[in-house]
C-alpha cells in the first residue's frame, strides 16, 4: 500500500525527469562555473579566469553542427554590441581536429575568442547535453542560464538575459 505522500513525491520526481528530458530552451541554472584553460587556434592558452568580473557566455559549437553555424553571425553581432558594457563571449569548439575549425573560421571569421576543446573536458564539466549550448555566467562567476539548441529568434532570449546580468 503506497502512502499518498510517497506517491505524490514519486509523481513529482517522474514529472521532473520527464520535464528535464523534454526540450527546454533557456532554463535557470545555478552553481559556480567550472574554471578551464584551453588553447586558441593560434596555440595561446586562455580560460574563463581571463574574464573575471565580466558577464560571460560560453557557447559550445562544432563545425558539423548546422544550428551552431546559423547562430555564429548573430553571436558575433551580440559580442560586438555588448563588449563595451563588460560582456564577453567564448566560443568553445568541440571538434576532434583543428584543421576543419581553422578552415571554417577563415571563410567565416568571428571576432569573439574561440578556444578548442578536442578532449571534451570542458564539455563534460559543463554537462553539455545539447548542441549547441550556451551557458551564461554572471560577474561573480556563477552559472545563471543554460540555453540548449538554437532556433532563429533565440538570440533575443540571449540578449534579454545578458542585459539583465550586465545591469546587476
Amino acid at each position: 500500500m503506497i502512502r499518498s505522500s510517497t506517491l505524490l513525491k514519486r509523481c513529482a520526481m517522474a514529472a521532473i525527469v520527464v520535464a528535464s528530458t523534454a526540450f527546454a530552451a533557456s532554463s535557470d541554472a545555478s552553481g559556480p562555473a567550472p574554471a578551464f584553460t584551453l588553447t586558441t587556434l593560434g596555440g595561446q592558452p586562455s580560460g574563463l579566469s581571463a574574464y573575471k568580473g565580466q558577464v560571460v557566455m560560453v557557447n559550445f559549437w562544432a563545425t558539423w553542427c548546422g544550428p551552431c553555424q546559423q547562430e555564429m553571425p548573430l553571436l558575433d553581432q551580440m559580442y560586438k554590441k555588448y563588449k563595451p558594457a563588460g560582456f564577453t563571449l567564448i566560443g568553445v569548439n568541440v571538434d576532434k581536429e583543428a584543421p576543419a575549425v581553422k578552415e571554417l573560421l577563415t571563410r567565416k571569421p568571428v571576432s569573439f575568442p574561440v578556444l578548442l576543446d578536442p578532449a571534451n573536458q570542458v564539455s563534460k564539466a559543463y554537462h553539455v547535453d545539447e548542441m549547441p549550448s550556451s551557458v551564461i555566467i554572471d560577474r561573480k562567476g556563477q552559472i545563471r542560464y543554460i540555453h540548449r539548441g538554437y532556433k532563429p529568434g533565440d538570440e533575443n532570449d540571449y540578449q534579454d538575459r545578458i542585459r539583465q546580468l550586465i545591469r546587476e
Binding site: 520527464v18 562544432a62 553542427c65 568541440v94 576532434k96 571534451n120 549550448s133 539548441g149
Partner: protein, 77 residues
C-alpha cells in the same frame, strides 16, 4: 495473416515513448556526434536515388517494404 507483428511493434514503441521518464543517460554525448553527423553516415544520403532503386527492385521482385532509415545525424537542437 493478421498484422500482429505491427501490434507488438506499436506496443514496444508506446512503451519506449512513455519511458521518457526512465532516466537512462545518453552514452554518446552531443559533442561526440561528429562522425554520426558526417554525411557518409546518413542512411539516405540521396533519398531520390534510393527510392528509385527500390522502385526498380520492387517492380521485378516479389518482395516489398521495410526499406529506408531514420535517425542518426548530429542530434542538434
Amino acid at each position: 495473416m493478421r498484422p500482429r507483428p505491427i501490434l507488438l511493434f506499436a506496443t514496444l514503441s508506446g512503451a519506449l515513448l512513455l519511458c521518457g521518464a526512465c532516466s537512462i543517460q545518453p552514452w554518446v554525448k552531443p559533442y561526440e556526434r561528429d562522425r554520426l553527423a558526417d554525411p557518409i553516415m546518413a542512411w539516405d544520403r540521396d533519398a531520390i536515388s534510393n527510392a528509385y532503386l527500390d522502385h526498380i527492385r520492387e517492380s521485378r521482385e516479389g518482395s516489398r517494404g521495410a526499406t529506408g532509415g531514420a535517425g542518426g545525424g548530429c542530434g542538434c537542437n
